[in-house]
């Protein structure tokens, strides 16, 4: 249980904004979807070398097998799974996912960005990519250095029959959360997804999320 005296960072991230949480090894991060159905794009970087950054592909496919376990590339991440970097550095471990359907987080899709909005008739809008690139600029990273994100609470799944991906409103209810424990000292860049056009990925209204870091 999260105790007040353990909290080291607490902030409510408003819709359409981004923020950073610094999470030291051993500390935990909780992102709570305050109203439900809100997606948060999350990029993770190693604090002492931000170029060592989240790889959702390795996180799905380079998990350490149990003895005798067959290699199975997975399509989602659930509690117990480790977020790995692009060079397989263990960054954070998923420790809890309170939604009724566990593991409904996109780990295949790149962020919304300026081009997506422009192509679909909304020129000039900035997406999660621009937000996260701005957040990481002080750390010496350029927009092209930003990795694919883990899109928390995003309901994105494949339709094999139709041969394409399906984006649907999320499954989170108000107060649902996901938790991570940092294995390395991490910089976690978060974009409260601004998508309120094109697809109903955030339900009918954008809403804030609660970001908390605590020590054990």
């Amino acid at each position: 249980m999260l105790m007040p005296e353990q909290i080291v960072y607490d902030y409510i991230l408003p819709p359409k904004t981004g923020g950073i949480a610094f999470v030291a090894a051993g500390e935990s991060l909780r992102i709570t979807d305050l109203a439900g159905l809100q997606v948060v794009d999350m990029a993770v970087f190693k604090r002492d070398n931000p170029r060592d950054k989240l790889s959702t592909s390795y996180s799905r496919t380079r998990y350490k097998p149990r003895p005798g376990e067959k290699f199975v590339p997975r399509d989602k991440l659930v509690p117990g799974d480790i977020l790995l970097s692009t060079i397989c550095t263990p960054l954070m471990k998923i420790t809890a996912d309170s939604a009724e359907r566990v593991g409904v987080h996109d780990v295949h899709h790149r962020m919304c960005n300026r081009e997506l909005y422009e192509y679909y008739g909304y020129p000039g809008r900035r997406g999660c990519h621009e937000v996260i690139a701005d957040l990481m600029q002080p750390f010496g990273l350029l927009p092209e250095d930003i990795p694919d994100t883990m899109d928390l609470f995003m309901n994105y799944h494949h339709d094999c029959g139709k041969g394409h991906w399906i984006i649907e409103p999320g499954v989170t209810r108000a107060g649902d959360f996901i938790e991570f424990e940092a294995i390395s000292d991490c910089i976690v860049a978060l974009s409260n997804c601004p998508m309120d056009v094109i697809v109903p990925v955030n339900g009918s209204t954008l809403s804030p999320v609660h970001v908390q870091v605590w020590e054990s």
Binding site: P4, E5, I7, V8, Y9, D10, Y11, I12, P14, K16, T17, G18, G19, I20, F22, G124, R125, R126, G127, C128, E130, V131, D134, L135, P138, F139, S191, P194
Partner: protein, 215 residues
């Protein structure tokens, strides 16, 4: 950069100095740092001036100060600066032991309509000061005041008191950030100067958050 010593009527240890960029800037950062124990003040001032802030330094030579005198002195100095610059945003930074004086100054400046449309307040260990809780409660009424409540890691009871106030502000819908500083924290000036430091980062974004609106 221009540096101007402002006339004042407060105590002899209170020497407000305004540093301004060469170009016109309408953002004002008011810093009250403990100069006897803190280092990095010049780099701090350089950093924020280069980022487009007018910086009003109102350091106290000792921590032994009359907070009411400092509060009135600050408001007097802000008034002088505001007569020379615009008033888009004002941010106050209070070092450890200075929160009561600065909180009172924010309230007085609000009453004198000196704050502009956006106002920020950054404090360190504010709730260690006996007068701070009442002043902070008063400040909670200001809807346009965004706050950062930084607190040192070692005092758990102080952390709890600070978090409780922060949570109360969240309930009121205020923009508020709670942050525990590392055990071996650098001086406040050094933390604020470093754009990669958690407190330096959070302070820069307090009145200018990263967002998805068109540039």
């Amino acid at each position: 950069m221009k540096r101007i010593a402002l006339p004042h009527t407060a105590s002899s240890t209170f020497r407000p100095v305004l540093s301004r960029p060469e170009w016109a800037a309408d953002r004002l950062l008011v810093s009250v740092l403990k100069q006897d124990t803190e280092s990095g003040g010049a780099a701090f001032m350089d950093a924020y001036v280069s980022e487009g802030w007018n910086v009003l330094e109102a350091g106290s030579a000792t921590g032994d100060i009359d907070s009411d005198a400092v509060a009135f002195g600050l408001v007097e100095a802000v008034k002088q600066v505001r007569s020379q610059t615009g008033s888009a945003a004002t941010m106050f930074v209070a070092d450890r032991g200075m929160a009561s004086a600065v909180c009172r100054a924010v309230m007085l400046a609000h009453r004198d309509d000196l704050l502009g449309s956006l106002c920020g307040l950054v404090t360190v260990d504010a709730f260690a000061e006996s007068r701070a809780p009442a002043l902070c409660k008063e400040l909670a009424e200001l809807k346009n005041l965004a706050t950062i409540w930084a607190v040192h890691r070692t005092d758990r009871a102080l952390r709890e008191r600070t978090l409780k106030h922060h949570t109360a502000l969240q309930t009121l819908g205020r923009e508020t950030h709670f942050l525990v500083l590392p055990v071996a924290a650098r001086s406040l000036a050094e933390q604020l100067t470093d754009s990669r430091d958690p407190l330096g980062r959070e302070t820069r974004w307090l009145l200018d958050p990263v967002h998805s609106r068109s540039a």
